[in-house]
């Protein structure tokens, strides 16, 4: 009796593990076709000159060499770094502060938290459209802010020095509530005994936060930093829709992601577009690796 079951079980076990392969095959094939292949194809493209109308011509490293002298690229590179900085550090700090405010119970907390969370709901394009209206040079925001001391024209999106800040501000406005949620989840995971122990020891709120909460929030902190930076590198819709011309006045808000689109689908220089995207990829990888290293050794 038992012998036959074991043998039967043995033969079934030999078969069924292959089902795993069958189950993952659809996904793997899909990614091979629509993800891995294009990535490699894109890498190949970056070594060619291709304008869509004529067959691609191999140019080796020329595209990359040209990028180093390409003003448009250098500007986009710099703009991207500025934007990523502005979209990560302030977000990290402000969303944490917001989480601290909403962490404890108080009158009206739920409804205020819901109101605070509203920016997360609309798709990015909606946010860009609404802010484009609000940021008219003599529009609503100008009257609300500059109106106090009689300023009637603030060129939020039309001035080449102001535009990048406006862009960062809108982006941050839209994602701070989202990261606040992540912080809140992290804070909620802190065992209350820790805080109670600190209270018993007579620690005030600031010291409690510094010595109890912060160490516990370490993994959340890393996560927020990583997610916000990856998100910042990839933002595209905001830069495309918010200014009148994608790229902003004097290309002051042109970021690498947008440059890929410009080269690929406005100028039809597909090889250059691919080269820029390769650089972008390398940059993201570098930043992610630096963060990982930092996390390990800090």
């Amino acid at each position: 009796m038992t012998v036959s079951i074991v043998r039967r079980a043995g033969s079934v076990r030999f078969h069924y593990k292959w089902w795993g392969l069958i189950f993952v095959l659809p996904v793997v094939t899909f990614f091979a076709a629509f993800n891995l292949f294009p990535t490699l194809f894109g890498l190949w493209l970056s070594f060619t000159d291709y304008d869509l109308l004529n067959p691609p011509v191999w140019v080796g490293l020329d595209n990359f060499a040209n990028l180093l002298a390409d003003r448009l690229f250098l500007q986009a590179f710099g703009n991207t770094l500025v934007f990523v900085l502005g979209a990560t550090v302030p977000v990290w700090v402000l969303s944490l502060l917001a989480a601290l405010v909403f962490d404890q119970a108080f009158r009206g907390r739920d409804i205020l938290k819901a109101a605070f969370f509203l920016p997360v709901l609309p798709p990015v394009v909606v946010i860009a459209v609404v802010w484009r209206l609000l940021l008219h040079s003599n529009g609503v925001l100008t009257s609300l802010t500059g109106g106090w001391w009689g300023v009637t024209e603030i060129r939020w999106l039309a001035d080449a020095t102001l535009a990048p800040f406006s862009m960062i501000a809108v982006h941050d406005w839209a994602i701070i509530p989202f990261f606040m949620m992540i912080w809140l989840a992290g804070l909620a995971a802190i065992p209350p005994e820790f805080r109670e122990a600190a209270a018993i020891d007579g620690a005030g709120p600031v010291r409690t936060f510094w010595h109890v909460d912060l160490p516990q929030l370490r993994s959340t902190a890393v996560l927020v930093a990583a997610l916000s930076s990856i998100n910042a590198f990839q933002t595209f819709a905001l830069q495309y829709v918010l200014p009148t011309d994608p790229g902003g006045p004097a290309n002051s808000t042109l970021v690498l992601g947008l440059l890929v689109l410009k080269y690929g689908f406005q100028y039809f220089r597909m090889g250059d577009a691919a080269a820029v995207s390769v650089v972008m990829f390398a940059l993201i990888m570098a930043v992610t690796l630096i963060q990982l290293w930092f996390n390990r050794h800090a």
């Binding site: 003599n138 039309a158 011309d245 790229g247 006045p249 004097a250 039809f268």
Partner: protein, 428 residues
């Protein structure tokens, strides 16, 4: 999918007619979106199909911004249309990619080029490459300046007498028509350029440079001429307009929009086709020539552009012939195009037509048209335009014009060099 359908269509047609003695062809025709013109197109095509039973027309209208992209991707996929139109600023890239077929005079129905040109009173400069013609104009458009009479009257001025004849005298007149707030910010502009609509901005400096006897781009040698004395004059003027005189700039609503809303006293980016729009908006207008420089060498108004109907060189020969026939038929209906859609083609029957004679502004436009020059045609137009527009942004920021123009010239030349190198590697 399209190729498959075409195959099925052709196979089906052949099977239907057996071995037809007349080759039945299908001409795929793409036009850009200009709503008033579409019903006229359809009527013309229906007529054409009746008179030419062996030619079928598949007509498609593509909406504005995507039109050029869609054309490009279609050509790249080998499924480009057989007959299509596009504007003169963009045709060079098609020519450089060997997409355009030179005019087949036999199929078009003219003895030769001279015969063709006698029918039209001009407008072919935009489609002439290396001496040959590659299309026929379906619209030749020049812009002029329009004044909003109500606003002028309110300021105590009369466009007919007070209109500035020179660029130099324009700022003073515009100032009189400008209303400002306590900070000097114009809340109602007197005159402004079309800063924000990309394709329209460059007409201003181009025109000014042409008037000084030069051109922004040297078309034959693929060289930019942006860091030159005439160019500097034009761009300095525009910089002063926004920065020194604060009469306008890109941070305000687009000039066309504000003019139609009755919030701008004068502007210069409408063609004759703008008049119906003004009438619909209730604007009482006067049309005026563009200002010239006091010391202008050439008496040209605003640069012109044209829409040309072109034939795909990669289509089958029989299809190409059918396409030229259709082009001939289409342009022969120039009168309907003008009266129905306000599109001007410089042909005698148009200028003799009732619609033309009944249009008070038409003779003025024609006289300006004859004096005007074509806007430069550049390969890599999109990128060149972008570069110039970004230079414009920097100027409006107040940056030093010498640096801006030098960089602009370098960058445009870089683009054009690249295109020239690529054109040289194309195999015939």
């Amino acid at each position: 999918m399209r190729i498959l359908m075409r195959l099925v269509t052709i196979v089906g047609l052949v099977a239907w007619t057996g071995l037809a003695n007349a080759e039945e062809v299908t001409v795929r025709m793409w036009m850009h979106e200009h709503p008033p013109r579409i019903p006229i197109d359809k009527a013309i095509i229906a007529d054409f199909e009746k008179t030419n039973p062996d030619i079928k027309v598949q007509y498609d209208v593509i909406s504005g911004p995507e039109y050029s992209t869609k054309l490009l991707t279609a050509f790249a996929a080998g499924s480009g249309p057989d007959l299509f139109n596009n504007t003169s600023t963009l045709v060079t890239q098609y020519f450089a990619a060997r997409i355009l077929a030179p005019i087949d005079y036999d199929a078009l129905g003219y003895a030769n080029e001279a015969a063709l040109l006698t029918k039209f009173q001009g407008g072919f400069d935009g489609i002439r490459f290396q001496g040959k013609l590659y299309g026929v104009p379906t619209e030749v458009s020049n812009w002029a300046c329009f004044a909003n009479n109500a606003i002028w009257r309110e300021a105590g001025l009369d466009p007919n007498t007070d209109w500035p004849k020179t660029w130099e005298s324009l700022p003073a007149v515009a100032e009189k028509l400008t209303k400002r707030d306590q900070n000097g910010v114009p809340i109602r502009r007197g005159f402004d350029f079309s800063w924000t609509i990309p394709g329209t901005f460059w007409f201003a400096p181009n025109t000014m440079i042409h008037q000084l006897g030069a051109s922004m781009i040297d078309e034959d040698n693929y060289k930019a001429a942006l860091d030159t004395v005439p160019s500097r004059r034009a761009f300095q003027y525009l910089q002063d307009w926004a920065v020194k005189y604060r009469l306008g700039g890109p941070q305000y609503t687009a000039s066309r929009t504000d003019f139609l809303a009755g919030k701008l006293a004068a502007e210069c980016s409408f063609g004759i086709w703008g008049i119906p729009q003004m009438q619909a908006a209730g604007i009482d207008w006067t049309v005026m020539p563009a200002p010239r420089w006091a010391d202008a060498v050439s008496d040209n108004g605003l640069d012109i552009y044209a829409y040309y109907m072109m034939v795909n060189a990669r289509s089958a020969p029989a299809v190409q012939r059918g396409a030229w026939k259709l082009a001939r038929f289409y342009t022969d209906h120039a009168v309907e195009l003008f009266s129905g859609a306000g599109l001007f083609v410089p042909r005698t029957e148009v200028t003799e037509s009732a619609a033309y004679k009944g249009n008070s502004a038409a003779p003025f436009f024609l006289s300006e048209l004859k004096k005007a020059k074509f806007s430069p045609r550049v390969v890599g137009y999109t990128q060149v335009l972008d570069t110039i527009l970004r230079g414009k942004d920097k100027l409006v920021q107040g940056e030093k014009i010498d640096d801006v123009l030098r960089i602009m010239d370098e960058e445009v030349n870089a683009v054009m060099n690249r295109e020239r190198a690529r054109a040289a590697t194309l195999v015939k």
